[in-house]
Amino acid sequence: MADTVVPAGPETAVEDIRLKHHFATSAQQMDADTLGMWTFLITEVLFFGGMFTAYVMYRNMYLGAFASTSQYMNVVLGGTNTAVLICSSLTMALAVRAAQLSNRRHQILFLILTMIFGTAFLVIKGFEYHAKWVEHLVPGFGFQYEPAQYAHHAQILFFLYFAMTGMHALHMVVGLGLLTYLVVQAYRRVFSANYFVPVEMIGLYWHFVDIVWIFLFPLLYLIGHRR
C-alpha cells in the first residue's frame, strides 16, 4: 500500500517547487510573470525609443545626407537577415507550442533551430560591420565619406546605425543566452503543459527583438531607395 502512495508524493512536491511561496495559485503566478514581462518589454520600447527619436529628428534635418548613405548599406545582407529573423520568430513560436503540448523532442529541436537562426543573424551582421570598418565608415575611427559635402551629417547616421544595430545585436546575444538556458531546462524535462511560462516569456522577448529589427531595416537601409 505504501508503495502506491509514494509516486504521488514527488509529483505534488515538484508542483509545489514551481509554485513560489508567495503566490496563492499557479494561475496567479503565471499572470504575474506575464504582466512582468510585458512591463519589461515596455521599458525596452522606451529604451530604443530614445534612439528612434534622435533618428527621426536628424532624418528630417539632413534628409539628403541620410539618403546618400544608402549606397553603402548592403541591402542584400540586411534583407537576408530580416528573413532569417522572421524564420527564427516562427521557430520560437513553434517551440512555445511544443512546450505547451509537452512535446519535449520538438521543443528542443525548435529551440536549437531558433538559436541557429539567431547565430546566423549575428554572423551576417559581423560581416556587415567588418565591411563598414574596411570602408572607413565607423564614426570617430578615421571616418571618410563620399560625397564629401554630406560627410558630417552622414557621420550622424552611421553613429545611429552602430548604436541602434549594436544595441539590437546585444539584445540578440542576451536572447541566445536565454535560449541556451531553455534548451538545458527542456533537456531536463522541466517544461510541460502544466509549466511553460519561461518558454513563453523568453519567446515574447525574442519576438520583441525581432520587431525592433523589422523597424531598423527599412529605416537604416532603405532611406535612399525610392522609386
Binding site: H22, F23, A32, T43, L46, H153
Partner: protein, 543 residues
C-alpha cells in the same frame, strides 16, 4: 495544564519575526524578503544622504564669502556631486525602495512582492551604481551639474563623467525593477476583497510612481549610453561640430527627468495621506480624487518637460503649449493639498511626530508648488530661469516635501519596522529644528533668485552676502536636525519601548499584524471586507 502548555510556545512563536528569524550577514545579503531588502535600502540611502549632505555643507561654507573660499573648480564639483547623489541615490529610491518596499506587499495583503529575487537584484544594482559614482567622487568628481548637459559632459568635459554617468545608468535599472515589481504586485497580488477602490492611497501613489519609473527611466538610460558612446568615439549625435544638436540631449534628458521629479514627490504624497488620515482619525476626504490625482500626475508629468527649455532654443508655440501643460499638472497636486486639509477639518487631530512632519510637508510643498507656477509661466521664467529662485523652488518640493514625508513616514512606521518606539520628546524637537533650519536655508534663496543671483556660481556680488550667510546658518541647523533623528533612531533599536502591533490605533492591514512582522507577513491570507481608513472611535482600536 493544557492551556498553559498550549500558551507557552505561542508566545515564543510570536517573538519570531523577520529580523530575528535568521542571523549573520549571509541571511541579509541573500535575502529575498521584501522587508529585509527595505532595511538594506534604508541603510544604503541614509549613507548616501549624509555623503550628499556633507557636500552641501561644504559648498554652503564656500558661499559665506562673496568671492568664495574654495576654487571655482572645486565648487563646481561639489554642487554637481551633491545633485547627482541626492537625486539618483537618495530621492528617487527614498520612499519607494524603503517604506513602499516594506509596506506595499503588507498593505495589499500579500506575502511578498511579485518578484522577490528581482527586488534583491535592484538593491545590488543600486549598490553597484553607488560605488561607481563614489569612485567618480574619489577620483575628483564631476563638474557638469547633475543634468550632465552636453557639451559640458561631452566635448568640453574634464572630469569623471563616464564613471558617474555609468553609475546613474546602473542605478536607473534598480529604479526600473522596483517600479516593475510594484506594478505587477498591485495588479496581481491583492488579497481577496482588496479591490482597487480599497487600496491605501500610499499604494496608489507608489503605483503611479512605478509607472513613471518604468516609462521614463529607460529613456535616461539610452541618453546616458549615447553620451558614453559619444565620449568614447569622440564624435556623436550631440556634437555640433558634425551638425549634431546638444539640445536634443536636453529634450531626452528632461523627458525622463521631469517625470522623475514626480518620482521624487508622489510617494511622499502617499505617506502624507496615510499620516493625515491616521492622526485626524478620519477617512481621507475625497478618496477617489486623491487616488486619481496620483494617476493624473503620472500621465501629465510626461508632457511638461519643455518648461526646462523655455530659454534654450524652443519655438515659442511649443513653449506656450508646455507652459499651459505645466499649469495643468499643478491641478492634481492642489487637489491633494485641499483634500488633506479637508480631511483634518473637524477631525480629532493629534500632534504626534509623524503629523508634525505632515504639517511641514503640506506647508512647504504648497510654497514649492506655487513658486513652480512662477517658473511655468513663460514671461516670469525668462527672468527667473537659472537663478536661485529655481534652486529654492525645487528644494521646497524635494527637501521640504519629499524628505519631510520620508522622515514622517519613517517615524510613523518605525514601530512596525523595528518593533520599538522612538523617544517622543526628542523626535518632536528634531521635527521643529528641521522645519526652522529648512526655512532659514531656502527662503533667503527665493529672495536671492528674485534679486537675480544666478545658481551654480562659486562667487557672487557682495550685496548678496547677508542672505547667503543666513542660508548657510540655516543649512547647519538643518544638518543638526537630520543628525538628531539618526542618533535617537539608532538608540531606540535597543532601548526604545516595545511597540504593540498598532501603537497609533491606525487602520490598514499593516497594523493588524505583529510589530515587527513575521517573514511571510500573514499567517493566512487576509480577506478584506471594508474600505481603507475606516476609522471608528479611538478606544476601540488602540493596542
Amino acid at each position: 495544564m493544557a492551556t498553559l502548555t498550549h500558551g507557552a510556545p505561542e508566545i515564543a512563536a510570536s517573538e519570531v519575526n523577520y529580523l530575528n528569524v535568521e542571523h549573520g550577514w549571509k541571511s541579509w545579503l541573500f535575502t529575498t524578503d521584501h522587508k529585509r531588502i527595505a532595511v538594506l535600502y534604508i541603510v544604503s540611502i541614509t549613507l548616501m544622504f549624509f555623503v550628499g549632505g556633507f557636500m552641501a555643507v561644504l559648498f554652503r561654507i564656500n558661499l559665506l564669502e562673496p568671492e568664495g573660499i574654495f576654487a571655482a573648480e572645486t565648487y563646481n564639483r561639489l554642487f554637481s556631486m551633491h545633485g547627482i547623489i541626492m537625486v539618483f541615490f537618495f530621492l528617487v529610491p527614498s520612499i519607494p525602495a524603503t517604506l513602499a518596499n516594506f509596506l506595499i506587499p503588507i498593505m495589499v495583503g500579500a506575502k511578498d512582492l511579485a518578484f522577490p529575487r528581482i527586488n534583491l537584484l535592484s538593491w545590488y544594482l543600486y549598490v553597484i551604481g553607488a560605488f561607481l559614482t563614489m569612485y567618480a567622487v574619489i577620483r575628483g568628481g564631476v563638474d557638469t551639474g547633475w543634468t550632465f548637459y552636453t557639451p559640458y559632459s561631452s566635448t568640453y568635459s574634464n572630469s569623471y563623467v563616464l564613471a558617474a554617468a555609468f553609475g546613474v545608468f546602473v542605478a536607473g535599472f534598480s529604479s526600473i525593477l522596483t517600479g516593475l515589481n510594484f506594478i505587477v504586485t498591485v495588479h496581481k497580488m491583492r488579497a481577496p476583497g482588496m479591490s482597487w477602490s480599497r487600496l491605501p492611497l500610499f499604494v496608489w501613489s507608489n503605483y503611479a510612481t512605478g509607472l513613471i519609473q518604468v516609462l521614463g527611466t529607460p529613456v535616461l538610460a539610452i541618453t546616458l549610453l549615447l553620451l558614453a558612446f559619444e565620449r568614447i568615439a569622440h564624435v556623436g549625435i550631440f556634437d555640433p561640430n558634425i551638425g549634431g544638436d546638444p539640445i536634443l540631449f536636453q529634450h531626452l534628458f528632461w523627458f525622463y527627468s521631469h517625470p522623475a521629479v514626480y518620482i521624487m514627490i508622489l510617494p511622499g504624497m502617499g505617506v502624507i495621506s496615510e499620516i493625515v488620515s491616521c492622526f485626524s482619525r478620519k477617512r481621507v476626504f475625497g478618496y477617489n480624487f486623491v487616488a486619481f490625482s496620483s494617476m493624473a500626475i503620472a500621465v501629465l508629468s510626461f508632457v511638461v518637460w519643455g518648461h526646462h527649455l523655455f530659454v534654450t532654443g524652443q519655438s515659442v508655440y511649443t513653449a506656450i503649449a508646455f507652459s499651459f501643460l505645466s499649469m495643468v499638472v499643478a491641478v492634481p497636486s492642489a487637489i491633494k493639498v485641499f483634500n488633506w486639509t479637508a480631511t483634518m477639518y473637524k477631525g480629532s487631530v493629534s500632534f504626534d511626530t509623524p503629523m508634525l512632519y505632515a504639517f511641514g510637508f503640506i506647508g512647504l510643498f504648497t510654497i514649492g508648488g506655487l513658486t513652480g507656477l512662477h517658473l511655468a509661466s513663460l514671461s516670469t521664467d525668462v527672468a527667473m530661469h537659472g537663478t536661485y529662485f529655481v534652486v529654492a523652488h525645487f528644494h521646497y518640493v524635494m527637501v521640504g516635501g519629499m524628505v519631510m514625508a520620508f522622515m514622517g513616514g519613517l517615524h510613523f512606521w518605525w514601530p512596525k519596522i523595528t518593533g520599538r518606539m522612538y523617544p517622543e520628546a526628542w523626535s518632536k524637537f528634531a521635527a521643529l529644528i528641521v522645519f526652522i533650519g529648512f526655512n532659514l536655508t531656502f527662503f533667503p534663496q527665493f529672495i536671492l533668485g528674485y534679486l537675480g543671483m544666478p545658481r551654480r556660481y562659486h562667487a557672487y556680488p557682495p550685496e548678496f552676502q547677508a542672505l547667503n550667510v543666513l542660508s548657510t546658518a540655516g543649512a547647519s541647523i538643518l544638518g543638526i536636525g537630520y543628525v538628531i533623528p539618526m542618533i535617537y533612531l539608532i538608540w531606540s533599536l535597543k532601548n526604545g519601548p516595545k511597540a504593540g502591533p498598532n501603537p497609533w490605533g491606525a487602520a490598514g492591514l499593516e497594523w493588524q499584524i505583529p510589530s515587527p512582522p513575521t517573514t511571510f507577513n500573514f499567517d493566512e491570507t487576509p480577506i478584506v471586507t471594508e474600505e481603507a481608513y475606516n476609522y471608528g472611535p479611538l478606544e476601540e482600536v488602540i493596542g
